[in-house]
């Protein structure tokens, strides 16, 4: 096996350029003669545009042109990529999402004018000289109020602020209600899944360029999926044929979901570069990011659990209000529905589940998927209600979970919420977590903390999630307006080195290191012989990009398929060179040999023959060695695991400190353990961030109160413990060639309930048993208030 094959903790080759400041991000790109774009954005949450007078501003120094909605009359709105059908069989309400505000502004940050000037400061100066007459309208921010009959409407042309009322599984509703009516025990909790801002380190950037001689548009953009942007913007917004539209997403400094979507600024810059025959560049400021990047989560839920007298779970009933914001972002409708309802069975054999979700328009920034997307919301509900059930029934949470787990021998397991789990072993990850966290000695540690005046507690969260969203025909039936396959081209060069062209996009995941490990392993050559090409629609085959922890499970599987095609062909060439039968050719350590003989030819000998076909079976085999594969999975993959969080509360201030955090995950087969561990660390940091610190807050007028890092609390290194991460309890995915499941989101999915459960545990152990729940983020002020409420 080559030293950098599957299973090797190869160091990330891309980190050398990132850590030395030599990455090439979109903002590092400057085109000759480029102009700068500044957007005049709404300062009010809701208003009717009476007039926009740009005459004085247009005459200011350096101003090239000011664009308003009228200049985009020919363009379509920003499309929504997922149509949800409600529980009555009707399609969701789908408002237009214009590039620049048409008639009304609907959230603080809604772009009204795009000013193009020779310098950025000139564009900003001009923005201040634009005379805007906006009639401010009452804003609707609270979802419950938005659904009241007499509520202000975000979109005048819709019947209400209700996007859809979704039921799942609608046919089970009565059976679920009946189970609750007869249950020995019913437990319920109301909770919110707090609104978040992704805040990748790199803010968004878009640069439009146009080559009139070839009628060629290029958009450089901070995207997780350049081909998706090309398809959405080309086909639905600007009517540009794909061969005339190139999207480049170079190094991207983190996305976490927020860079999946097609944004107005991208369409603006692409179109305006053509109008002006000049490249135009827009770079978001951090303040702008808070009011224009898609936000995340923002669910208000009530979840109920019915149990029989022996504490077997009988049914789950969950009702959620999901905030869509003012417009439907690209995949927004899918998050509270298909990415959430299908996980509401969790790792448990609950036979009946009913999930109702009402998606609501409000005068806030659009909300869409963010690390975990739907599965954190499902996991939070389940693991909180089970924790509460254990307390109310006076039983051990570990035992209650174990009793209701799907057993290892029950896979494949058909859940009552459509999905079929292929594999898993929840008992194993739970046992591993308990062992690594030294759970057995917890009481002793609680006592030691008590002596120091601190309240210690332990929280458990057992999650299962779904990655690599698929297969395309199924998601198509569920409303997806995109395919969800992935692709790879393996281009072998004459001297044996390899360029892998992938439709995935790496923006922190380490593909440049882990993808070559697969090819190196399969062929038996050194990983340094292999490079990844990604992020440019001009050079890579059409793929769907990177999100939903799909790259390894789906993109990696496409790569396996393409590499197998290469190996098949290379064996034919080797057979010819060695004058042997193809069936006798063996490939090992980068060498083709004839079984049972000492005749062999090395990898480079075969690749050279492919491109210099002097001695080559041209009559039966094309020269060259390049293969493409498209892989459309049969099913989702289902990573799972068990997390344990141990915390101390300072009773004087309510401050929570995480003392230890243990993660035992089942990611199936792991390609690069070090990268996987890093992904888990990042996910845990974001999950703990959601649980303890992060919160995106609007006031009742729709003004964002957390519009900067002075008020939006990102988790910092000193908020986090040293993580204990394990992925030894793995059950390979049964339906993809790698056996890999995906690891990118697990931490953010599993961590929040572990943290909140730990805080509740600490308070209960100290006698504050009146505290049933604390909403995230569990800030010092909230913990103190909860402890002191009676």
């Amino acid at each position: 096996m080559p030293k950098d094959g599957i299973g090797a903790s190869t160091k990330r080759r891309e980190d050398i350029r990132f850590l030395t400041g030599n990455g090439r991000y979109t903002d590092d790109i400057n085109l000759r003669g480029q102009a700068y774009v500044h957007f005049l954005r709404s300062e009010v949450a809701h208003g009717r545009i009476r007039s926009i007078d740009t005459s004085a501003a247009s005459a200011m120094p350096g101003v090239i042109r000011i664009f308003t909605a009228e200049d985009f009359g020919h363009a379509g709105g920003l499309p929504c990529g997922w149509l949800v059908t409600d529980r009555f069989g009707e399609p969701m309400q789908e408002p237009k999402h214009p590039i620049l505000a048409e008639g009304k502004v609907r959230h603080v940050g809604d772009p009204i004018c795009g000013i193009v000037a020779e310098t950025l400061e000139q564009a900003r100066d001009a923005a201040e000289a634009i005379e805007l007459d906006i009639e401010e309208l009452p804003a609707v921010v609270d979802m419950r109020k938005a659904l009241e009959d007499n509520s202000v409407k975000v979109h005048d042309d819709l019947t209400s602020n209700l996007c859809y009322d979704w039921g799942f599984v609608e046919e089970n509703k009565e059976a679920v209600n009946a189970a609750f009516a007869e249950a020995a025990h019913v437990v319920s909790v109301e909770l919110t899944n707090n609104r978040l801002c992704a805040n990748p380190m790199e803010a968004r950037v878009a640069i439009g360029d146009y080559d009139p001689w070839n009628e060629q548009h290029t958009l450089y953009t901070t995207s997780q999926n350049p081909h998706v942007i090309r398809l959405l913007m080309g086909a639905f917004v600007l009517s540009l044929p794909e061969h005339k539209l190139r999207i480049v997403a170079p190094d991207v400094g983190g996305g976490f979901g927020s860079k999946i979507y097609h944004y107005a600024e991208e369409a603006f810059c692409t179109h305006v570069a053509k109008v002006l025959r000049q490249p135009v560049k827009w770079t978001s400021t951090r303040s702008e990011a808070f009011i224009s990047d898609a936000h995340a989560r923002d669910h208000v839920s009530k979840v109920e659990l019915a149990l029989d007298k022996d504490h077997n779970f009988l049914a789950i009933r969950s009702t959620t209000l999901a905030n869509m914001g003012a417009y439907l972002s690209t995949f927004a409708p899918s998050v509270p529905t298909w990415l959430h309802g299908t996980l509401m069975a969790g790792p448990y054999k609950t036979p009946l589940v009913y999930v109702n979700v009402k998606a609501v328009f409000t005068n806030t920034v659009a909300v869409d998927a963010y690390r975990g997307a739907g599965r954190p919301e499902a996991t939070f509900q389940l693991e909180r209600i089970i924790d509460k059930a254990a307390r109310e029934l006076g039983v051990d949470g570990v035992e209650l979970r174990r009793k209701n787990f799907i057993k290892p021998e029950q896979f494949p397991y058909q859940t009552p919420v459509a999905v079929e789990y292929d594999s898993g072993n929840f008992h194993a990850t739970m046992d591993k977590m308990l062992e690594l966290s030294n759970y057995a000695n917890l009481d002793k540690r609680v006592e030691e903390s008590r002596k120091k005046g601190k309240l210690r507690g332990f929280g458990i969260s057992q999650y299962i999630e779904a990655c690599g969203i698929a297969p395309s025909h199924l998601v198509g039936q569920l409303g997806a307006r995109a395919g969800l396959y992935e692709t790879a081209t393996v281009r072998v060069n004459a001297t044996g080195s390899i360029s892998v062209l992938t439709g995935c996009h790496s923006h922190g995941q380490g593909h440049e290191t882990s993808f070559p490990q697969i090819v190196a392993d399969m062929i038996g050559i050194d990983a340094s012989q292999i490079d990844i090409v990604h992020g440019d629609t001009a050079t890579t085959p059409m793929g769907m990009g990177t999100y939903g922890s799909r790259s390894m499970a789906v993109g990696g599987s496409a790569l396996v398929k393409a590499t197998n095609k290469i190996i098949d062909k290379a064996k034919k060439i080797a057979a010819h060179l060695l004058e042997a039968s193809e069936a006798d050719i063996e490939l090992k350590d980068g060498k083709f040999s004839v079984a049972g003989t000492d005749k062999s030819v090395d990898w480079a000998g075969v690749t050279l023959a492919a491109y210099v076909p002097h001695n080559y079976p041209l009559e039966s085999l094309e020269p060259g060695l390049e293969e493409t594969a498209f892989y459309d999975p049969n099913n989702f993959t289902f990573p799972s695991g068990c997390y344990g969080c141990e915390i101390e509360v300072d009773p004087d201030t309510g401050k929570v400190e995480i003392m230890a955090f243990t993660a035992a995950d089942d990611f199936g087969v792991v390609i690069n353990p070090m990268i996987v561990e890093g992904q888990v660390h990042g996910g845990l940091a974001q999950g703990i961030g959601q649980a303890l610190t992060e919160n995106c807050v609007y006031d009742e007028n729709g003004q964002l109160l957390t519009g900067s890092f002075m008020d939006y609390t990102m988790p910092r290194a000193d908020d986090l413990p040293v993580f204990k991460v394990d992925h030894s309890c793995f059950t390979p995915c049964t339906h993809n060639p790698l056996g890999a499941k995906g690891c990118g989101e697990a931490g953010a999915i599993g961590a929040p309930p572990a943290v909140v459960n730990a805080v509740i545990d600490a308070l209960h152990r100290a006698g504050h048993t009146h505290v049933q729940h604390i909403n995230m983020p569990v800030t010092p002020a909230r913990v103190w208030a909860a402890m002191n409420s009676k």
């Binding site: 400061e121 900003r124 100066d125 201040e128 303040s287 004087d652 201030t653 401050k655 610190t693 919160n695 807050v697 109160l705 957390t706 890092f709 002075m710 008020d711 939006y712 609390t713 990102m714 800030t779 010092p780 002020a781 103190w784 208030a785």
Partner: protein, 262 residues
């Protein structure tokens, strides 16, 4: 940012002249002023940098007091005041992060008088004197509520004179996002009595908690504060904490500062 002129005088006299022009503003560490300029919330026509004036920099002992130049950075105070006034040095060492501490200055912080800033607690709690190019102002007169001070147009703080206490300490509870003081307490014991200054909590900015001072002057121990509390009325309420929480923290932080005072 709007366009502006920049001057960096070498003497206080030149700085005063430069500040006499319309639209001129002093720039010290820039940690507060520059972000507001970037957001176009502030638009000076001329920035007069104070950091090139040697007289405005450094920590020196003068009898029973420590005199610190207005343009001395937080990092320098943390280092150079540690021997004479460890409570003050420790406070400076907790401001912001290393980048902020090696730029931000004592004078800038005091002139700005952010209700959540740390230094005002030490200045008020030490009964310090603010020395300007025009006069000397006692700390009690200097701070006049959120972001308001006794400084007049064009007046420059040149130094602060801190009487050195027998013992002192600062206890700060972070506002989670900004890590300014959600509530901070500075406690200093002098021969004449104990001073307690609370920052971050009140709608009127930094204040002295006289009840606690009286109790601690008789018995300098955390227990002396038992039964005492700051009323919630007039305290700041925002998304990081209610007035009740801040009032409660004032007590907790004072107790911790007393325990830590050495």
């Amino acid at each position: 940012m709007y366009a502006f002129d920049f001057v960096k005088p070498a003497t206080l006299a030149d700085a005063v002249t430069a500040l006499g022009q319309d639209g001129a503003m002093p720039l010290s560490g820039g940690q507060t002023l520059l972000p507001t300029m970037k957001q176009r919330l502030n638009s000076p026509e001329t920035l007069v940098s104070l950091t090139g004036i040697t007289d405005l920099k450094g920590v020196r002992r003068e009898g029973d007091a420590l005199v610190i130049g207005a343009a001395t950075t937080h990092a320098e105070v943390a280092r150079d005041a540690a021997g004479d006034y460890p409570g003050l040095a420790a406070l400076a060492g907790q401001i912001g992060d290393p980048a902020v501490r090696s730029r931000g200055t004592l004078g800038g912080s005091i002139a700005n008088n952010d209700p959540s800033a740390c230094y005002p607690a030490a200045v008020l709690g030490s009964g310090a004197t603010i020395i300007t190019n025009m006069r000397e102002i006692s700390a009690g007169d200097f701070f006049q509520g959120m972001f308001a001070t006794a400084l007049e147009e064009g007046e420059i703080i040149t130094a602060i004179r801190f009487p050195i206490p027998e013992r002192s300490a600062y206890a700060k509870f972070h506002q989670p996002a900004s890590r300014f003081a959600l509530t901070g307490a500075f406690v200093a014991q002098y021969a004449g009595g104990v001073h307690v200054a609370i920052t971050g909590a009140s709608e009127s900015g930094v204040f002295r908690w006289s009840e606690a001072e009286a109790a601690l002057s008789g018995n300098f121990s955390p227990d002396a504060l038992n039964g005492l509390s700051v009323p919630a009325k007039g305290m700041i309420g925002d998304l990081h904490g209610t007035p009740e929480y801040r009032a409660h923290l004032a007590g907790v932080m004072t107790r911790r500062a007393v325990a830590a005072a050495s």
